[in-house]
Structure formats: structure tokens, C-alpha cells
């Protein structure tokens, strides 16, 4: 085991411990927390942020940032909704939704790679462009009312486990294999660790960077499918601030904003911490204003713990 991977493991342990302690505290405070229906609720409520955060993790490990994910959720969603209402059938509609996500991601990646612009600027611009496109396309109105087959994406169950939870686990499994067992995955870390060295080693950094943002667009589109099914409606104003939730889940999960290190397991636990926290604060009847303070404190606290941990290891 290399030093850096031991560090990653120690960090993940800290994040998992945080989740366990948080759950324990909630269990002690309210009898409504540790029940099967409630935990399934938490899992379901976490699924959308967790899936968006998959893409965000790829991007952040590569040393970038993607602020356009929330807008991509909205545009993919309304594309999906319009296709379904146009009678295109589920497979074609899903292909359109995912296609929109990947296309937006490719545009992000291409401008960042070949235009040589900072990811923050490009995805900030795309956040606005894509949101505007969703509003123009729908004239600002939600597209709603879908058939039961599509709604089963959110409402369906397998052995009592809600479909979005199964979908989330499947996405994480596949993404984890891609990130840790493929050449592409290794390049994601390499680009984030030292982009120049990676380029000198003969890797097409531009191509791989573009693909990384396409992965993020794809993840956002998958989240859009679940969100649209869950609300039985595609809203052009959906997904606002999702980028911040996804960044939060990723950094709570121990991925460094400097790039080069991080893991999807950490991100999943990070997303769960946010979900459990929101759920628990609701159950306890904590006011929504206080909730924001607590969530903000947890984000800073988690990263603080990380930083201190890192300093001690070094």
C-alpha cells in the first residue's frame, strides 16, 4: 500500500465514522430516525445529489470544477419530459436526456481543453447558458404528467428497495470501476496530480479532460431522470444550487479541491452525511434557517478535519 492510498483510507474511515456518529446521535434524539421507512427515505432523498456528485468527483479529482451541473439537470429533464409527452417512448426519451447531458459536458470540456480557459469560468458561463436554454425551450413552464411506466423510475421497488436507490448503487459501482480499474480512471488522477507531467508522458490531456466533463454531464442527466420521475414534472428552474450540494458531498467525502486525490466511496458517504443531516434536522423540528447553519458548519468541519489529518501525516 502506498502512502497516499493509506491516507485516502484513513480519510474515508474518518468520513464513515462521522456518518456513524451522526446517525447514533439522531437515533438517541428521536425514535423516528432509525426505522426502515425513514432510512429508505434518506437513501431516496440522497440519490439525486449522490449521482450528480459522481460526475463532480471525477471533475474535482482532475483538478477542475463543474458549476453547470444543476442547469444540465434542468435541461436534460425538460428534454426528457418533452420527448415523453411527444410520444417518443421511454428508450428514445432517455437517450435524448442522456445525450443532452453528455453534449453539455463535451462543450464544457472542449472549451476548457482547447480554449485553455479556467473550468470555473467556462462552467459558470454554461450554468447560465444551459439554464437559459431550458427556460427558452419550455417558455418557463414545467412539463408535467407522465405515464406510470416512466414514473416507476422513482416510484418502483425491488425487494422493498426504491428504484432510485438501486440506480444510485449501480452508478457508483460502475463509476468506481471506471475510476480505479481503467486507464481513463488513472488519467483522471494523473491530470489532477500534475497536468504538465501527464501531457509530457504522452497522454492526450485535452481529450481526457473533455471526457471527464462529459462524464459529469452524463451523471447530471441521470440525476435529471430520477428527479423528473420523482416530481412527475420537469421544471426549467429545477436543480438550482445542485452544484453546491454536489461539491459539498465531494469535499466532505475527502476529495481534494487541489485535485489528484479522492474517491467515490468517500463522495457517497459525503452525500449520505448531507442527506442524514437534512432528514434528522427535519425530524427534530429544527427550523430551516438553523438547518442551513448546521449544514454549513458540517461542510467546513469535515474539510477542517481532513486538513488537520493531512498535516499530521506529513
Amino acid at each position: 500500500m502506498t502512502g497516499s492510498s493509506r491516507l485516502t483510507h484513513a480519510r474515508q474511515f474518518g468520513t464513515v465514522l462521522g456518518l456513524v456518529v451522526l446517525s447514533g446521535v439522531l437515533w438517541a434524539l428521536t425514535p423516528h430516525f432509525l426505522t426502515v421507512p425513514n432510512l429508505l427515505n434518506v437513501a431516496q432523498q440522497t440519490s439525486i445529489n449522490a449521482i450528480v456528485a459522481v460526475g463532480m468527483t471525477f471533475v474535482i479529482i482532475s483538478g477542475g470544477i463543474d458549476l453547470s451541473v444543476g442547469s444540465i439537470v434542468a435541461l436534460s429533464g425538460v428534454g426528457l419530459g418533452a420527448a415523453l409527452q411527444g410520444g417518443l417512448g421511454l428508450p428514445a426519451a432517455l437517450a435524448i436526456a442522456l445525450g443532452i447531458g453528455v453534449t453539455c459536458g463535451l462543450v464544457n470540456g472542449a472549451i476548457i481543453s482547447w480554449g485553455g480557459l479556467p473550468p470555473f469560468i467556462v462552467t459558470l458561463g454554461m450554468m447560465s447558458i444551459v439554464r437559459g436554454a431550458a427556460l427558452v425551450f419550455t417558455e418557463g413552464r414545467p412539463v408535467s404528467g407522465f405515464d406510470p411506466l416512466f414514473r416507476s423510475v422513482a416510484a418502483g421497488q425491488l425487494g422493498g428497495v426504491p428504484a432510485p436507490v438501486i440506480a444510485t448503487l449501480a452508478v457508483y459501482l460502475v463509476a468506481h470501476v471506471v475510476l480505479t480499474r481503467t486507464t481513463f480512471g488513472r488519467y483522471v488522477y494523473a491530470i489532477g496530480g500534475n497536468e504538465e507531467a501527464t501531457r509530457l508522458a504522452g497522454v492526450s490531456v485535452r481529450f481526457h479532460k473533455t471526457m471527464i466533463y462529459a462524464v459529469s454531464g452524463l451523471a447530471s442527466a441521470m440525476a435529471a431522470v430520477i428527479l423528473t420521475a420523482r416530481l412527475n414534472s420537469a421544471q426549467p428552474i429545477a436543480g438550482m444550487m445542485y452544484e453546491l450540494d454536489a461539491i459539498a458531498a465531494t469535499v466532505i467525502g475527502g476529495t481534494s479541491l487541489m485535485g489528484g486525490e479522492g474517491s467515490l466511496a468517500g463522495t457517497l458517504v459525503g452525500a449520505l452525511i448531507m442527506g442524514v443531516l437534512r432528514n434528522g434536522l427535519n425530524l427534530l423540528g429544527v427550523s430551516s434557517f438553523l438547518q442551513q447553519i448546521v449544514i454549513g458548519a458540517v461542510i467546513i468541519g469535515a474539510v477542517l478535519v481532513d486538513t488537520v489529518l493531512k498535516r499530521h501525516r506529513n
Binding site: F13, G14, L17, G18, V21, L22, V25, L26, L29, T30, P31, H32, T35, P37, N38, N41, Q44, Q45, I48, E139, G140, R141, P142, S144, G145, A154, L227, R230, L231, N232, S233, Q235, I237, A238, M240, M241, R278, N279, G280, L281, N282, L283, L284, G285, V286, S287, S288, F289, L290, Q291, Q292, V294, A297, V298, G301, L304, V305, V308, L309, H312
Partner: protein, 315 residues
């Protein structure tokens, strides 16, 4: 370092604990959830006050929750799911999305929680398709409110005006009804032309920007109808910035305190008053009846009133 995590989480837990103690869970009072669109708008703060007063009087334990942002219907759905887990006896909700919220209401109904809708109606078709039954709707008729505003404009302009409209978020039943009412009221006055109509998404700063742009494009606008006072107040700032204060009549909706001040000062002409605290009160009274198993009317309408400089003086 693990200790740091534990201490951190424990500290957070302790802070939630102290909040929790204010409302102990073991009580024979029925627990009712009031899920609002947001709590950072005076309208909903007033509604909460009215509901809380009624709850205290009638022996109801009220849990108030709201999403961080008014338009976040998915977060509102999460809140409903979470509140159902705490064994609430009734759900009072102001839907952030007329159609989208239906999925959450299905869950409440499945858990045998009676539902009372306040302020914004649920889309009837979507509710019928999902088989959702609501006990009653408490609110004011936004369409009638819009008509009231339109009639006022016809009245004070002598039936001759060039009107700019600031809309709420498109697709929201509340704003759409107000606009329909307004347009229906002015359409029979041939001298009244709506020269521009743009969404400013219920927000004050957007009301400023959108109206500033509108005024650039149509310098001849002499009357503004804003579907909410926050947007109207934004427009008033834009009018002041253009040096046109007093030359453009502004009619808003909600009669917020700031709007009343503007009306008294003469920078605003009028506003349609709703009574959100009355809505909150009526909602909780209905909850008590619903829990007792009493039958409720399909809707309970709360009065509307036109607030003008004269009406403020009369008070």
C-alpha cells in the same frame, strides 16, 4: 483526529438537542406539520404567526418547516416525507409547485394523514389522476384579486393607460391567476393597453432590473401592475432611478408593510391585501375539525381588500 470528528458531531447534536427540547415529542397534543414555501418572505412569516396563535389556542403541536428556497419543490417533498415519519396527524401545506407536490401528497395520503392546502391550489387534474383527496383549500381567490387590481387601474386612470406587467415565476398558479384576473378586468377598457409583460420571479431585485429594462424599451409606460409587492417595490426603485417618481402608477399585490409605507408616501398607488395570518388561522381551525372527522367545505376563502392611500387614512 477521529476524536475531532466525534467532538464536532457531538457539538452539532447538542445544538439540535437544545432546539428539540423546546418542543418535546411526548405530548397528548396532536402534532401537525405546517410546510411553507419559504420562511424568508413576510407573507409566509405572517401566515406562520396566525397558524401558531391558533395552534396554541386550540391545543395543537405545530411543526413548521420550509425549504431554503421558495421554488425548491423537491426539497419540500423531502420535508413532507420526513414529517410523515414523525407521526403527524395532519399536513398543512402551501405547495411550491401545483403539479409537482402531488407526488408528496400521495405519500401523505398513503400514511392516512389528512391534507389541507393553503394559498396555492393543487393542480386539479394531476391530483385526480393520482387519486389525491384534500380536506379543504384555504386561501384567497387570486383571480378575484387580480380583477380587483385591474378594476382599480381602470378606475384611477379613467380607462386610459399604457401598462407594464411584472409576472411571478411562470407556471405558478398564484401568479397566473392574478394575471388572468387583471387582464380580464382591463380588457373591456379600450383605452388600456398592456405594452409589456415579463416575469421578475417574485423577487425585488429582479423587479428592479426587469422594470428598468422595460422602461428603456417602452418609455411611455404610465402604469405598472406587479403580481407581488416585492416586485412592485423593485419597480418603484427603478422608477426613482429613472427620475419618474410620481409619473408612473404602481399597483402591487400582498400589501406588505413596505408597500403600505410606499403607498402612504405616495410612491406606490395601491396593493391588493391578502390576509396570510387569517389563512394560517383558518387552516389550523380546519385541521382540528378534520382530525375530529368533521366534514369541511371544499374551499375556505379569506377576504381580499384594496389598500390605497385613502384606505390607510381611514384606518
Amino acid at each position: 483526529m477521529r476524536k475531532t470528528t466525534v467532538v464536532l458531531v457531538a457539538a452539532l447534536a447538542a445544538s439540535s438537542l437544545s432546539c428539540n427540547r423546546a418542543a418535546p415529542e411526548t405530548t397528548d397534543k396532536p402534532k401537525v406539520a405546517l410546510v411553507l414555501k419559504t420562511l424568508n418572505h413576510p407573507f409566509f412569516v405572517d401566515m406562520r404567526r396566525g397558524a401558531q396563535e391558533a395552534a396554541d389556542r386550540l391545543g395543537v403541536q405545530l411543526e413548521v418547516q420550509a425549504a431554503e428556497r421558495e421554488i425548491d419543490v423537491e426539497k419540500q417533498m423531502q420535508i413532507v416525507e420526513n414529517m410523515i415519519q414523525t407521526g403527524i396527524k395532519a399536513l398543512v401545506i402551501t405547495p411550491s409547485g401545483s403539479r409537482e407536490i402531488v407526488s408528496a401528497l400521495v405519500k401523505a395520503q398513503t400514511a392516512n394523514v389528512p391534507i389541507i392546502i393553503v394559498d396555492t391550489r393543487v393542480d386539479e387534474k394531476a391530483a385526480a389522476e393520482a387519486g389525491v383527496h384534500t380536506e379543504t383549500f384555504v386561501g384567497s381567490d387570486n383571480y378575484e384579486g387580480g380583477k380587483l387590481a385591474g378594476a382599480h387601474v381602470v378606475n384611477v386612470t379613467g380607462g386610459k393607460a399604457r401598462v407594464g406587467i411584472l409576472e411571478g415565476i411562470p407556471g405558478h398558479e398564484t401568479g397566473d391567476s392574478r394575471l388572468r384576473g387583471f387582464r380580464d378586468a382591463v380588457k373591456d377598457a379600450p383605452g388600456i393597453t398592456v405594452v409589456a409583460s415579463q416575469p421578475a420571479n417574485w423577487e425585488r431585485d429582479q423587479g428592479f432590473n426587469v422594470f428598468q429594462n422595460m422602461l428603456q424599451a417602452h418609455p411611455d409606460i404610465d402604469t405598472v401592475f406587479a403580481a407581488s409587492d416585492l416586485m412592485a417595490l423593485g419597480a418603484i426603485e427603478a422608477i426613482a432611478a429613472a427620475g419618474k417618481t410620481g409619473r408612473i402608477k404602481v399597483v402591487g399585490f400582498d400589501a406588505l408593510d413596505d408597500a403600505k409605507k410606499a403607498i402612504a408616501a405616495g410612491t406606490m398607488d395601491a396593493s391588493v391585501a391578502q390576509f396570510p395570518s387569517e389563512m394560517g388561522k383558518a387552516a389550523i381551525e380546519s385541521v382540528v375539525k378534520a382530525i375530529r372527522g368533521e366534514k369541511l367545505p371544499a374551499s375556505i376563502m379569506v377576504k381580499l381588500e384594496m389598500v390605497t392611500k385613502e384606505s390607510l387614512v381611514r384606518r
